[in-house]
Amino acid sequence: MIHGMDTGFLVSAELVEHPDHIAARATLSRLLGNGDRVALAPQVLAEFIHIVTDSHRFRQPVEISGARRIARKWTAREVAPYFRPWRRRCNSWIGWNTFSSAESVCSIRYWRQPIVKAAFARSSPRIRMIVARSIASYDRR
């Protein structure tokens, strides 16, 4: 089975101060231990960077270069490359905040559709989303 990760789940799995951090890590460990895979929409990587670099949210936000380095790591071997072309899309979203052209802004507005759930649902109904609100009770059934 493939489990889709939304931004909230990614943030909770990454930040030790997040109230759901331990539950998120345990969930990942359990799912991957069962041989399952995970997936994320490339947009989620940009949202992740946006959050962890936010000085309004955290006393010690992550530097942008560090946030991008960690975001790239979330394209690990168990992460299904679910959107074509996978690597180019991920790199575009990881660098989204260096964009300045109107075309890029239009592109981002287009992607504001509920892509994380809807795009997965369109491409494969077999993907089950792990959303932040379900971390504590999530299982693979």
Partner: protein
Amino acid sequence: MREEGIDTADSRLPSHSVLDIEPLSVGTLLQAFGRDDDVLGEMIEGRQ
């Protein structure tokens, strides 16, 4: 077998595991996480 939606052209799988990714520490939380945060809206329209 081709799996629908998967980028089968990308054969360069990373060697590291999700479980190898080190957690980050960001210090004290100044703003609580909301279940329905519109992160993409913030990205486009600016932080509040």
